[in-house]
Structure formats: structure tokens, C-alpha cells
Amino acid sequence: MGAKTEKAVRSLKITQEIYPIVKNFYMESWEAKKQNKLVCWAGVGDPRELFWAMDLVPVYPENFSATCGAKQISAPACAFAEAAGYSRDTCSYFRNTYGYMVNRDNLPEPPGGGMAHPDLLILAVNSCHTRPKWWRIMERHYNVPTFIFEAPTIPWDMRRDKIDSHYLEFVVTQMKDMVAFIEKHTGKKLDIKKLKEAVFWGDRASALIDEIYELRKAKPCPLGAEDMVTALFPIIVLRGAKVAADFYEKMLLEVKERVAKGEGVLPNEKHRLFIDNIPPWYTKGLYNYFHKYNAISVAESYTTNFCWQTRMDPERPFESLAMSTIANWLNISYMEKGETLLKTARDYQIHGAIFLVNKSCKVYTGSNTYLANLLRRELGIPTLVLEADQTDPRDYADAQVKLRIDAFMEMLA
């Protein structure tokens, strides 16, 4: 299955600033030792503001694997993990990181030198249970202090903007244990002022990206998935640092300008699409493929609905972070996913929905049938299912995928 893969063609100027930020992010992680800081490897759904506040240098293996996917270097690393005995059915984020953890010298050079070795491993278990196992594998390999805590999935009768207080307390208690853990290893106490400041900047970046998502409702849409998924980098790994807020401030300006001028990605926008699941990082150009049908993805569950961003109150930092750690797309019920999708479909005036079958993330993919049926039944929106793994290009058949897109778009026409 030698994959034909394509890079995204971007429409926004700001997107070009992302790759230098990415490279820099990884390069800086190697500088940590010189600055007497500890490198921690953390999960992408973790309370990242705490890491900034406590002077840690966080890097994120999941994001690293996505970056390797986007740089078209993830396949050999995945193959290496399989050779080491891990099933091909395990998450490709894990397989890629494992490959680089154990066999880096024989693999293509990752951007910015990749992740500096960890002094600490930290993880909030939300979304899936592959990650804690993965973190234990890394713990055994690196033999470094590891802290793993739980952010429970919320049940079908709870919503992420109204989480019960005992859920939040459960997470806050563990986060405070985590603070003690970090203090023990850095030798420095948490400065609550720094935390409030980080939460302030995290909230600011979140508010800005919320505004950007709102603007994608415009017709024609000023900003498609091909730009948006790349522009997510700061809110995921730099939330809480001022640089993320600055980035989205600049991005918001550019998007506002486009909307004011009526400048869409497509001169003749005809079909507005919604795409579900983690982007197939190695072929983001797939989002551009829809353009030839005057179709564009205007909303995605990975961006618009995921909640990488969270509105937080700097005066209640722990509670805010607890909410953020619980409230991502993969930690909520299908009921809430369904309600959210119906609203998105109406707000963004969606004509068609694409669901990816992503072998690496069964938690994400599991809701496909329910959500597709819901959209069809309630709003008459036609749906298409495509198979595309998030980071393993060997689990992607370009010709088959494009045939299905062609047929779907002929049907919509």
C-alpha cells in the first residue's frame, strides 16, 4: 500500500508561520538543561498551564507523532514498533513515538531535532486507555519519575459546560498531587501568581480561537480545514504561553479582513462540508481535493468542536484546568457529541458530512455510525465514510478514498 500522499495547499498567510514555530518548539526543548529546567513529556489533553507556571519544558509525544506524520516520516518508525512486537492495530501515535524512542539513529531526522529526552513523564488519562499503557512503556524505557492521573469521562446526562462538582474536585485533588510531584523534582514551589498568569493567557488564546471559529460560519468560508488543522498547533502545545495568544490575535485579524472583503477560500463555494476525526496528517492535501468540486470543509470536530481551547477563570485556576482536562471531544458521551454536531451542522450550514475510519483511534471512530445516522435522520445531511489512519500512511489507499469522494460529490451535485 505505497501511499500517494499530498501536502496541504494553504490559503492564509498566517499558516506559513506555523512550521517555524513547530521547529522552534522542539529545538527549545533541547535547551532546557542549559536553563536548569526539566523536560516533561505530557499528554495533549493535560493542564498545560501548570507546566508553564512551574517552569517545566513540556513536549507532547502525540503531537510529535502528528508532526512526524505531517513531515512524511512516520511510516518507518511505525514499522519499527511492529518489528518490536507491537500490534499494527495499536495507535500510530504510539508506534511512531516508540520508533523514535528506541531507534532514533536509524530514522529520518524529525523537525527541530524532535523531543528532548524526558526528565519527567506526566499524563492526565482522558480520552483513551492506550495512553497510560504507552506512558508506562516510556517510563520503563527512560526510567524517570512518572505521574499519571485520571480525568473521568463524563456520562450521557452530563454536559461539559456543567460538570458536577465532585468530578471537578476529583481532578483538582489529583492535580494538586501532581503539583507536589513536580515541586519534589524541580525543587521549586508553585508560584500561584504564575499559574494565574498562564491561565490568563490560555483563556485569552481560547477566546481568540473561539472568535476565529465563529468567522468560519461566513459565506464564503474564509478558512478551510487545510489551514485550520495546521493552525491548531499553538492552542494544543502552547496554550498558556503568551505566544499562542499573540498568534491567534494575528490570525483573527487576517480572517476578519477576509470576511470583511468577502474573500473565501473558494471563489464559487457550493458545498459546505463537515469532517470528523483526527486529520490524516501525512496527506492534509486531501482537504484540498474537495475544492475541485467547489466544496470546502468549514467545520471539523477536531477543531471546531474538540475544545483544545477552554474559557478559564484565572482566579479559579485549578477548577478551570480541571474542567479543561475533562472536557475534550473524546471524553464526552455520544449524546453530547450528537447534540453538538447538530448545532454545528445548522450554524455552519453544512451540506455533507465526512466521517473517517481511523484505525488508531477507536474512541473517536466509534461514534461514526451514531452521528452519521443522526445527521441524516434529523437534518437530511448525506454522509460519506472514508478510511484514513491519523499517522500511518500505510493505512491509507489514496485511489480508493478519492473514488468515494468523487462519487459522493457527484451525488451532492
Binding site: 473514488l403 462519487a407 457527484e410
Partner: protein, 254 residues
């Protein structure tokens, strides 16, 4: 024309949409070359030449390799072709060389929805070719064997290659050939039936594509779906017919 993974099909229509000539050949290495040769053959047969061809539309996997007026997916072409042949058709089962698809039609003959096989060729023409090779029988004899079968042995593997190994081990165990073949047809039918039920079965149901010539699969499918199946006289050309109809509608639009 339909430039498929295993076979190329070319259909020539006249102004009234009647089939003037049609032909099929193996795709081989260059589908495009074969398609060109088939066109020449049809023109010779019918005493026509290039200038008599008003418009050409290509469908199938190889459609982008051919310099046609436009390329349309075989899903859309099947819908056109089958609704032309049977205007009561609402569910189309198309099993080709490497794809199986179920297409739901609107009363107007447009595609309402479709579903295709996931990932691999199990349950398609390729699967049946491999099996008939392993059993040293001709594909067109499968129907006869299925009629003779006393029971059927289950082929449990999803994968064509692993299923072939299963077949070989059944042969070694002395299972009657007819029963193995019944099991193979069962396997195809059950995969397809589950796709049909997923998208929703609505009469009339038409079974087309090269595999529809396989009476063994037809029998097994009727059993699984518990409904009648309409099978075109020339099932392998229905997508090519649809492409030709599309070409005709394009050229008659002012």
C-alpha cells in the same frame, strides 16, 4: 467506457440510447491501450469511424487515463445504466473486479446513497477468480456446482489470500468440491447482504457487475436477502452503458 481493474467494457449507443455494439476485454497492463483497441474493434464491426463518435465518457478506476470528454465515477454511471434498464430499480448491487458497491436510487434514477467494500477485495470478482483457480474450475461453472451441493462448508477468513488457504485445507480434508464452492458463494453473499442491510433494502433490487453472471452467487444472495433479484442480460456492461448514456445527455444539451 468502463476501465475496470480486471476488465474493460465499451458500449456504443445511438442517438436514441439503444446499444449499437458492445465489447469486453481484460485490462492487462494498459487499460487505456486496450480501451483504444476495443473502440477500433467496435467501429470496424459497425462500419463507423472516429467522426461518428459524438462524445465519450470514461468510468472505472482507469478513467483518468483516458482522454474522454469527462470522467464520471462508476457509482453515478451504474445508477444511470441500471435505471435505464429497469426504472423500478431502487437498490443496485454491483460486484466488480475489486469493488463491491450498493447504490440506492431515487425514483428519478439518481444516486440517493452508496456504500462500498472496506479495505480489501474479499467478496469481489478477484476473490472468486482466486478461488476458482484454487479449485481448478471455470467461473461460469460455479452455479452448476452450487446447485449440486449437499451442504456448504464455511469459509471464515475475511482475507482472499487466507480464504484460499482455507479452501486448500478443505480440499485436503476431502470436502466435496460442490460444498466448498457453495461455501465460497455463501461468503460473498453474506458480506454483500450485510452491506445491503446497512444501507437499507428496497425493491426492486438489481444485481449487476461481472460477478452477477455467477449463478452460484446469485443463488446465495437471493437466499441471504430473501427477495427477488433482477439481473441484466449483460451485467458487466451496465456501468459502461451508464457512461455512454451520460455522454449522450451531455452532447444533446444545448
Amino acid at each position: 467506457m468502463d476501465i475496470g481493474s480486471i476488465n474493460i467494457k465499451v458500449v456504443l449507443l445511438d442517438n436514441n440510447g439503444a446499444i449499437v455494439a458492445q465489447t469486453t476485454a481484460r485490462s492487462g497492463y494498459s487499460g487505456r491501450e486496450v480501451a483504444m483497441q476495443l473502440i477500433v474493434r467496435l467501429l470496424t464491426e459497425t462500419n463507423l469511424d472516429d467522426r461518428d463518435i459524438v462524445s465519450t465518457v470514461a468510468t472505472g478506476y482507469g478513467r483518468f487515463n483516458f482522454p474522454a470528454a469527462c470522467q464520471v465515477t462508476e457509482i453515478t454511471c451504474q445508477a444511470l445504466g441500471i435505471s435505464h434498464l429497469y426504472n423500478e430499480a431502487r437498490t443496485v448491487i454491483d460486484i466488480g473486479g475489486q469493488d463491491s458497491k450498493i447504490i440506492k436510487l431515487t425514483p428519478g434514477g439518481k444516486v440517493a446513497d452508496f456504500i462500498m467494500n472496506d479495505k480489501c477485495s474479499a467478496g469481489t470478482g478477484r476473490f472468486l477468480e482466486v478461488m476458482s483457480g484454487a479449485l481448478e474450475i471455470k467461473l461460469e461453472d460455479m452455479g452448476r456446482f452450487v446447485d449440486e451441493a449437499k451442504g456448504h462448508c464455511t469459509i471464515s477468513s475475511f482475507c482472499t489470500v487466507f480464504a484460499e488457504s482455507e479452501v486448500v485445507s478443505h480440499v485436503a480434508a476431502g470436502v466435496p468440491k460442490a460444498d466448498i464452492i457453495a461455501g465460497i458463494c455463501e461468503s460473498v453473499a453474506s458480506r454483500v447482504a450485510s452491506m445491503v442491510l446497512r444501507i437499507g433494502l428496497e425493491a426492486e433490487v438489481v444485481f449487476t457487475g461481472g460477478v452477477a453472471r455467477n449463478k452460484g452467487v446469485v443463488t446465495a444472495l437471493i437466499k441471504h436477502l430473501d427477495c427477488g433479484l433482477l439481473v441484466p442480460e449483460l451485467p458487466e456492461i451496465s456501468a459502461a452503458l451508464g457512461a455512454a448514456l451520460f455522454a449522450r445527455s451531455m452532447s444533446s444539451t444545448p
